[in-house]
Amino acid sequence: MHFYQDPQFGNRMLTLMAAFVLVLQIAMVGQRWLITNIRIFAAQSFLLAGIANTIAYFNHAPHLYIAAFLTLALKAVLLPFLLERMVKKIDIGQEIAPLINVPLSLLISGGLTTVGYVVAQSFHRPAEAASPASLGHNTLAVAISLFLIGFYMMISRRKAFMQVLALLCLENGLFLAAISLTYGMPLIVELGVFFDLLVAVMVLGILVYRIQETFDSMDVSRLSRLRG
């Protein structure tokens, strides 16, 4: 059989792509330009679509192809385009200094990755280590750390726009966890999640736009008049 049918090759490709996704995520934590962040997010989504295809191909899960295509269309192409159009309209390129300085954030992201791996370990099921069904298992650790770093990014960013982006990365982590654990949720659930994601981004976009209008800056730490 051809090299591309060999499960070993599939496994290697998956781990490689997952590693790249993690690196992109940590890169996003490290830098401050809005536009580059959006592009990193697009790349990440593209890689995710790739992972989904690989798993679908090796585990013969037809509905995963649809999910992969949706990720590609939505998260890799449509959303980045919309977000870039919004950033150009508000024309703020530079993100002011984040809450926690960059070197410390990177350190924390490292810590969170270790937490991800610790949690993933407890899921390790020795019984079915070798069978092809467990192809995507080591990607679970990446998924959890993706989720935790996304969450951390939300906390440490001042710009409302960046918080939306962090939320999207968080969703990516979830998508990766879903496909690696159970080869995707039932189809209707996948569709529901994508639809919700789309509506959420539109709603948050409008909100960011309104905040920009009223506070003429996207700095979220300004929003602190409601106390007690």
Partner: protein, 681 residues
């Protein structure tokens, strides 16, 4: 429900209160109709309840009824056993007297529109009180308890225009609610041990309660019921709340609402606890003595008439607790006969205090209403303007000071006998405690007499000290009847004490299963004896009779010599001043001056004097004098706690400081901690 007459009487009474409450609500527009409806229905309810209690005493003790309301664990269970009948009897007696009094009193409150609301809460209070005394399961008891607290709160803050009334109302409701929480935990502990919420199963459980359970349950119930009855450390709401309430309500509250705490203690200590440890009885005795002594000492310093009476409620609750404490100690020293005497002393004083305190508050209510002020310093000379009220107040004063031949003396005499009998016990420690308690009880009674000489003398005797007291006129006819009924009850309970004792056989039978009221009566029901063969005896009826017989001698003297002598009415000796005026009279503040000097350590009195003068300080134009004693409990105990809690609350409010990053960080940290915890276990 068997259709015995007792059911009609009991539920008829409840129905009357209920309809009275509705009548109050519907008639809130028209004060006259509302007033008549509420008071007459309350009166009817009171009379029916007296009938029910009478029937229960005569024959069918232990009648009980169950009404369920959908939810399984909420059963409205009523039970008229001996203890409930006794307290319900006190309640219905007071309800009757106060209802008659209210007919006149509410008319004098003026044509305010909200008389209907007052009527509603008044009837609701009576309804809930009956339910508290006759509830037969913990859940219904707690509901009735809170409805009573709610109704009392609304009645206390009836005149909520004044800031002091609102503050007193809140303080009352908060402390009463804290007490209820103690009861709640206590009852839940009992339910978890007994498996069911009804009182008979608690009673069955009593035998099997082991050490630590017994201690926790005892302390919880003692604190919970203690708040409601106003024992010393938990009493600060009582002198605030009772004076601000309308007088007929404060009469009812001082008379019977604080007795619900006593009822609770009697029910729990003697029925649910089994044999308590010795220190429990000692604790109740000591708290009783302290409450009695401090209650009367603080009452002496008051010159607001109703606050003075409120403090006296604390004193008398102390005396009741001395009886209960002694009884508990005798139970743990397994001397059932002495325990029965002490219990009878406590319960008898409960009835007596309810009656004479209600009489005093009704009298004070009429006086305050007529003189338009609560401050005794502005009263005086009311005995000429309100002779009948003065007579009623005097009867109440003599009774509360425990002077023969009235009922106060009888119950204090019984308490002394119990304490004296206590001295015979073998326990070395208790041998000291009983006589010491007796001596302090004597001090309390004497100070109470001093306080009521001051209260009666300054309020009623000599010259009126302000014009509003000048134009005071006698209270309405129904108010006088209300007071008259209670005064007669005081005299009847005093003289006919021996006839009243068999009432307690049922109670001591059910709680301590011993009947000794027959041993307490000798000389054909004329005299009371302390139970032992050569024990002391007293006969209030004999004393009264002696009064009449011996008065023959002074009458004889009068006939022989004094008839011829001239009787002239002249001005009092005024040391050459141009005629005596009200300013020369002794004031309440001056009257209590010696005691303030003697007990200065307790009172920490402070005073400031400012004299205005032009040329030299020796010829002051005006002198302003102000002095007050230190509210030790509020300052030392309650203020620090309040400050501490509010400080913590303000500091903890910073967790909602507005920054979204902080909010997200809280969730993030919780997530990480839980994940690691989840993985580890």
């Amino acid at each position: 429900m068997s259709s015995a007459p007792i059911d009609y009487a009991f539920f008829g009474g409840l129905l009357a209160y209920g309809v009275g409450a509705l009548g109050g609500l519907l008639g809130s527009g028209k004060p006259r109709l509302a007033r008549a409806l509420c008071c007459s229905l309350a009166l009817l309810g009171g009379l029916l309840e007296i009938g029910a209690c009478g029937l229960s005493l005569l024959g069918s003790v232990g009648a009980h009824w169950e009404i369920s309301a959908g939810v399984p664990f909420l059963v409205y269970g009523f039970r008229l056993d001996a203890l409930s009948t006794y307290f319900n009897l006190i309640l219905s007696l007071l309800a009757t007297a106060v209802s008659i009094y209210s007919l006149g009193y509410l008319r004098s409150l003026g044509e305010t529109k909200t008389v209907g609301v007052l009527g509603f809460f008044y009837n609701l209070l009576l309804l809930s009180l009956t339910a508290v005394f006759t509830a037969s399961n913990a859940f219904f008891f707690l509901i009735a308890w809170e409805v009573m607290a709610l109704a009392s709160y609304c009645l206390i803050s009836y005149e909520h225009r004044h800031e002091a009334t609102r503050r007193a109302g809140i303080l009352y409701f908060v402390m009463s609610h804290a007490g209820t929480c103690c009861l709640w935990v206590g009852f839940l502990l009992l339910t978890s041990r007994a498996g069911a919420t009804d009182f008979p199963s608690f009673a069955v459980l009593a035998g099997r309660l082991t050490g630590p359970w017994q201690v926790v349950i005892f302390l919880l119930f003692f604190a919970g019921f203690g708040v409601k009855s106003g024992i010393i450390p938990l009493h600060i709401w009582l002198p605030e709340a009772h004076p601000v309430a309308p007088s007929n309500i404060s009469a009812l509250m001082s008379g019977i609402v604080i007795k619900t705490g006593i009822y609770g203690m009697a029910r729990v200590f003697f029925e649910f606890l089994g044999v308590p440890p010795l220190w429990a009885g000692m604790l109740v005795l000591i708290v009783g003595v302290v409450s009695a002594l401090l209650g009367v000492l603080y009452a002496l310093m008051e010159h607001d008439l109703k606050r003075l009476l409120a403090y006296h409620s604390i004193e008398n609750i102390g005396i009741i607790l001395i009886g209960f404490g002694a009884s508990l100690m005798f139970i743990s020293l397994n001397q059932p006969r002495l325990a029965a005497i002490a219990l009878i002393a406590g319960l008898y004083h409960t009835m007596n205090h309810a009656i004479f305190k209600c009489l005093l508050f009704l009298g004070a209510g009429s006086v305050v209403n007529a003189a338009k002020t609560r401050n005794m310093e502005e009263m005086g000379g009311l005995i000429r303007r309100m002779p009948q009220t003065a007579l009623g107040f005097l009867v109440g004063a003599i009774a509360i000071s425990g002077l023969p031949p009235l009922n106060g003396f009888v119950s204090e005499w019984l308490t002394y006998q119990a304490l004296l009998a206590g001295f015979g016990t073998t326990e070395p420690l208790t041998r000291i405690l009983f006589p010491l308690a007796g001596a302090l009880l004597a001090l309390t009674a004497a100070l109470a007499a001093t306080c009521f000489v001051k209260a009666f003398g300054i309020t009623f005797l000599a010259l009126p000290r302000s014009e509003s007291t000048e134009q005071a006129e006698e209270s309405g006819f129904s108010m006088l009847i209300g007071m008259g009924v209670l005064a007669l009850a005081c005299i009847a309970l005093g003289l006919g004490a021996a006839l009243f004792l068999p009432v307690f056989d049922g109670i001591t039978g059910s709680l301590l299963n011993i009947h000794i009221s027959s041993d307490l009566i000798t000389a054909g029901g004329l005299a009371l004896t302390s139970g032992s063969i050569r024990g002391g005896t007293v006969s209030p009826a004999g004393i009264a009779a002696l009064f009449v017989i011996l008065s023959v001698f002074p009458a004889l003297l009068w006939l022989i010599w004094a008839r011829k002598g001239k009787r002239r009415v002249g001005p009092t000796w005024d040391c050459g001043l141009p005629g005596l005026t009200a300013e020369n009279e002794y004031t309440a503040f001056a009257f209590s001056k010696p005691l303030r000097m003697i007990f200065a350590a307790l009172y920490q009195p402070q005073r400031e004097i400012e004299a205005e003068y032009e040329i030299s300080p020796y010829y002051p134009k005006a002198i302003r004098f102000e002095s007050e004693i230190e509210p030790t409990f509020e300052k030392r105990l309650y203020e620090p706690i309040k400050e501490f809690i509010l400080a913590i609350a303000t500091r903890m409010r910073t967790i909602q400081a507005g920054s979204i990053h902080a909010y997200l960080a809280y969730i993030f940290v919780t997530l990480i901690v839980l994940l690691l915890w989840g993985v580890r276990s």
